[in-house]
Symmetry: C2
Subunit: 272 residues, 2 copies
């Protein structure tokens, strides 16, 4: 099975956890009813993107929100990259975590954002995620009936090596819950999704929140799907909505044969 | 000294070695007279880009063409990334090689193309460089009065790791003699130069031959300079000409402070 339908849910995030979960559930059902096999939510869809609010919204992996997200997957019979939430571990550390469910609601993967968003652009945005969060350490690639899917989170995408690692692990699509901002979005969002797809010869899907100028951190939105030749297959604007599109992993195999970058990489010297 | 002027010579390649060298010398002098500190020529500027012709044009590193290129550097008092030529070694192997000279004409580096261009695009281009050429193994970064400069050749640019390696070795600009074609050029040329610059927070300069539809391999041309924020600083069209622009390596330091990707990379885990 090479072909499947992916849905990226560009939802509007508020500061009510319950409202955000209700809205996510409604939109995931809409996606599934439209034929989606795999559904993704945005980064921190459950709370405002604000380091001071993360502790208040954080939950353990066996908390009620994760339990509810599991039920959303099984009720709709979809594979589910459930955006990210602030995850609390045993020792009180908080991570920016994507839980990944199969169509029965079983957790088949969990990605903790590896590269935290610490940035200070002159005349643009300043943000220091490491004030509140701890970094993950490992790449995440899960099995699905349509092939392997990698998962990374927002600023992780800045690091080409992580995407090479996932492609060498067999990923043919990488899903990235993300929320670029009004400085880095126009400069780098489209190009980064296009180029990681070209370099690693896979599909890249970026799922962002809808734009809400009332929040302290304003998302660039523009949820996007790019293909292994670097084309933008589909893209949303700034409003709440669904990006729903078929992906054919057979095209990944075609491109890898025509332009043998990955095999060239495997044979390469270490350049020293 | 952070600021210097770079010139990319987009010259028209013919099948006469002497004519190509004469033309290169004339245009390098023009660039130097216009204030260029560093001048680059395109990939295989000395011969048609054709695997069957490489043996006929190949010369050893102490051959007359390299000697002449050295004199072009010293006569004009410029640092010189002298495009590439087919280089013959002691054992009869041929490489796609860039010789790099300082302003006294001394060879300060030599880059042999690492990733050979073996490609077979459906409905597009087929080419197999490895029919005639052997691959280099090592990355090339040279010292100049304005900071370290990396050198890579055309298909090398497909491999993100090589550019990360050069940036970690201290390169603040990477010069790429190259010749993309009419299939991959429109799809990937601009974006690849922009994204390697963003990922590694350095300037990228791509120097290509002018477009000549009479040759078997038609170059996309479009010589280009991109900056560490991913902007296209300057770009040529398809005719013979000079791209001449100031580069400020101080901007590299600024961007590396504002968006700490390289330090984040150094601290990263291996993702396993």
């Amino acid at each position: 099975m090479n072909k499947f339908k992916i849905a990226l849910v560009q939802l509007n995030v508020t500061d009510s956890k319950t409202a955000n979960l209700d809205n996510a559930e409604k939109l995931v059902k809409k996606a599934a009813d439209s034929g989606a096999d795999i559904v993704a939510l945005p980064e921190m869809f459950i709370c405002p993107y604000n380091t001071k609010r993360f502790p208040e919204f954080a939950e353990k992996a066996d908390g009620t929100s994760v339990e509810r997200l599991s039920r959303v997957a099984s009720d709709n019979g979809i594979y589910f990259i459930a955006g990210t939430i602030p995850e609390l571990d045993e020792s009180g550390r908080i991570y920016n975590t994507a839980f990944i469910f199969d169509s029965k609601g079983e957790i088949i993967g969990k990605h903790r954002k590896i590269h935290l968003f610490d940035i200070n652009i002159k005349g643009g945005i300043s943000f220091k995620e490491s004030d509140a969060l701890s970094p993950g350490k490992t790449a995440t690639v899960v099995d699905t009936p349509w092939g392997k899917i990698g998962v990374a989170i927002c600023f992780d995408i800045r690091f080409a090596e992580l995407f090479r690692h996932m492609s060498l692990e067999g990923a043919k699509t990488v899903v990235v819950p993300a929320s670029f901002n009004m400085t880095t979005g126009p400069a780098h969002w489209d190009m980064t999704f296009r180029m990681r797809a070209v370099d690693n010869q896979l599909f890249m899907a970026g799922c962002a929140p809808a734009r809400n100028p009332d929040l302290g951190y304003v998302s660039w939105s523009n949820s996007i799907l790019t293909d292994p030749w670097g084309r933008i297959v589909d893209k949303l604007d700034v409003d709440e909505g669904l990006l729903l599109h078929e992906i054919d992993h057979g095209y990944v195999d075609d491109i890898r044969t025509q332009l043998p970058i990955l095999s060239g990489f495997k044979e390469r010297e270490q350049y020293k």
